[in-house]
Amino acid sequence: MKKYLWPSVKLTVLLLVLLGGLYPLFLSAVAKMAPGKGDGVTVTANGKVVGYENIGQKFTEDKYFWSRPSTADYNAAGSGGSNKAAGNEDYLKVVQERIDTFMAHNPGVKKQDIPAELVTASASGLDPNLSPAAAYVQIARVAKARGISEEKVKQIVDAGIERPVLGLFGPATVNVLKLNVTLDK
């Protein structure tokens, strides 16, 4: 063992410089050319930064599209999900409460039209997206709260839908923050 100790220590130090030092420094330098300059991509409204494109936000007012339930309360100082099992009784009660809350704020919406993602917590607690169906189901409420036509709101949602990659791969999504920024314009 002793024969290998010094080579091990010296090689470790050299690799620390290469992998711990130079590698991330190089990447951070290249990232200056990327969107957001490697600091994360922000969203601005009226010249003010209102959030990060990829980090979801909490919306509780009726005039905004709501994001999904979050166990991190949309504070990206941390992140995480509920880790509740599918059959956990306490968890299922929470889901039922979310359904009731949603129904109360969205009169006229049938229960079978509520997508499950609106009553289940995301993995990161920061999910910035909804599926198109989960946005559509909120149109009536948003339109009423803003006093504009449902047609108009639907147009804004449709314009905000991000299609699957090449139209073929992965789910279609809507970015909730960007959608709400557009609504406020």
Binding site: Y23, N54, A77, S82, N83, K111
Partner: protein, 572 residues
């Protein structure tokens, strides 16, 4: 849902397309032939010179192991102290505290052994210094350790009779300079241009549209996320791992990370065939591994797409499947695929929480880790599969009444004993650990510890048992994912899984290396009509049967108490 399934198929197809040329490249690198990456050679020579290493010095299998274990020990000592005193070191913009001794013990081991169990959260439990100079560093070198060990075994297969099996330092360093580092740069750049942060800026504070003040954790994450996948490590920069929208911002990055984590394990299988010039042998292994993966994958994806029956009963719509603990930009098909791949190849990164997946999916995740050989982690996957091959050769030999042979060498009592011990090790560590924690939980629920055992579990009943079973399975398989509801950031779990991690990593490297080394030093017996052909489909099926039977015998009772019981109580 169609586009989601298409996305999974396309991602797997892309992996295979890339694995083939990668395999040819890997073989060239380790045979010392000319490649495009020869511009790294001066750097390697400099490293050898300063470290006092002669890369031409051939080592026996014992010398390989000594070098491997020595450098791993150095890393552990360094990592342990760096994590404990990280608050006194530079690059800590968020002012995070040092780790407690038991947490540093667990974290250091966990990253040294390529597991990345992470009993802390990336945003608050480590600093930029320890993320980059300890954790990401270990992600590189632990993967390189696995690849180097595998190349030693390749050498042993290739030679007729020899005790000289190449130089460990050369295999190790080339794994980094020629494979892991250059490809990590490529992966990281893709992530950076899709929104993953890479600067050294600390937390940002934002006032949201509704007027809440929130923080946003950031940091030089892109390079970390690249090597965490390429090296089948799996430890996340952020607490939510690859479900975090900065760590994995889009479907493109999802596919990139997905390809990155499984491309080297698959390429190494192809490389085996090319290196020892027995391509058919490698194809059969690849075929069996792929069938094994599909057996785990299809039920998982189906269960996730169909959704949670308990939520269906409430009357809401589950067109996007079971969404608890999942992200909309990935959906259930992609998350199901990821959960299978990450458990069979010992990555352990997640893009959705395993704790909240359906019972059947949870069982497939557990099985993936218990088997731990379908593609498998960087290097070690094939080593695990090799043990099963030895057992299969031995049993086949008994069935036909001949002394078993493998690669032209007689397989005798000593090698079979080593293989049998390694096979028994995993069930022993997993089941003994789970039994111990269950005992403590049942008989000492109010023990006066930092976290009382009664507060460990996040879910009652069968699923709670699965949480404990999962933790030890993940530790033994050096996987690193978890049923993360488990309250594992305390001394009982830090210490007990710490020991499982060490044994579950190094013995399954020592065993195959010893067998291969011992066999290679024996007299070469040319193949004859009576030789068992290990490159035939029959033998492939035989190996598969051995894997299935051994796994079923070892784990069925535990699985019955956990996910199987949960399945029958949920789908009434």
């Amino acid at each position: 849902m169609t586009t989601e399934i298409l996305g999974v198929i396309a991602t797997y197809g892309l992996t295979l397309l890339l694995a083939w040329p990668l395999a040819r490249y890997i073989v060239k690198v380790f045979k010392g032939e000319r490649t495009w990456s020869d511009f790294m050679a001066p750097l390697e020579r400099l490293f050898y010179k300063i470290s006092g290493i002669n890369p031409k010095e051939e080592m026996t299998w014992k010398e390989h192991l000594k070098a491997l274990l020595t450098i791993n020990m150095v890393w552990f000592v360094y990592a342990f102290f760096a994590l404990m005193f990280q608050d006194k070191l530079p690059l800590n913009p968020d002012g995070n505290p040092g780790q407690s001794a038991d947490l540093a013990f667990n974290t250091a081991i966990s990253f040294v052994v390529n597991c990345n169990l992470q009993h802390y959260s990336g945003e608050s439990g480590v600093t930029y210094f320890t993320q980059l100079f300890v954790l990401a560093f270990l992600q590189f070198v632990s993967a390189a350790t696995g690849i180097a060990a595998l190349i030693v075994v390749f050498k042993a297969f290739k030679e007729k009779t020899t005790t000289k099996l190449g130089n460990f330092w050369e295999f190790f360093l080339k794994s980094i300079t020629r494979i892991l580092l250059p490809f990590s740069v490529v992966i990281a750049l893709i992530l950076i241009f899709n929104g993953t942060p890479a600067s050294y800026a600390g937390k940002d504070t934002v006032v949201t549209m509704q007027g809440d003040t929130v923080n946003v954790s950031r940091g030089p994450a892109a390079g970390f996320v690249a090597i965490k996948h390429l090296g089948t490590n799996g430890g996340g920069w952020f607490g939510a791992n690859s479900a975090h929208p900065l760590e994995n911002p889009t479907y493109i990055t999802w596919a990139t990370e997905m390809v990155a984590q499984v491309v080297i394990p698959i390429a190494l299988v192809f490389a085996l065939g090319m290196f020892i010039n027995r391509r058919k042998f490698a194809y059969v292994i690849f075929g069996i591994m792929t069938i094994g993966m599909l057996c785990l994958l299809i039920p998982s994806m189906q269960a996730e797409i169909n959704g949670n029956p308990a939520i269906a009963q409430m009357g809401v719509q589950q067109a996007t499947g079971a969404m608890e603990g999942k992200e909309v930009r990935f959906g259930p098909a992609a998350t199901g695929y990821w959960s299978t791949v990450t458990t069979i190849i010992s990555t352990g990164s997640v893009c959705g929480w395993h704790d909240s997946t359906m019972p059947l999916t949870g069982m497939m995740q557990l099985l993936g880790m218990m088997l731990n050989c379908f593609y498998g982690g960087c290097g070690v996957g094939i080593l695990n599969y090799y043990i099963y091959i030895i057992i299969a050769v031995f049993i086949s030999g008994l069935m036909v009444g001949r002394t078993p042979e493998f690669m032209g060498h007689k397989l005798e009592a000593r090698e079979v004993k080593i293989a049998a011990l390694i096979t028994l090790l995993s069930p022993f560590l997993i089941l003994a650990g789970t039994a111990l924690s269950s005992y403590v939980l049942a008989h000492h629920p109010d023990a006066n510890w930092a976290v009382k055992p009664s507060a460990w579990l996040n879910n009652p009943g069968y699923h709670g048992f699965s949480e404990m079973l999962y933790e030890y399975t993940s530790a033994n398989a050096n996987n690193g994912s978890g049923f993360e509801g488990l309250g594992d950031g305390n001394i009982f779990w830090n210490v007990s899984t710490g020991f499982v991690l060490i044994l579950g990593r190094f013995l399954p490297i020592v065993g195959p290396l010893a067998i291969a080394g011992l066999m290679a030093s024996k007299k070469y017996v040319p193949a004859s009509a009576g030789t068992l052909r290990t490159d035939s489909l029959t033998f492939g099926v035989m190996t598969f049967a051995v894997i299935v039977i051994l796994t079923a015998l070892a784990y069925f009772p535990a699985l019955a108490l956990g996910p199987i019981a949960e399945y029958f109580s949920l789908y009434r």
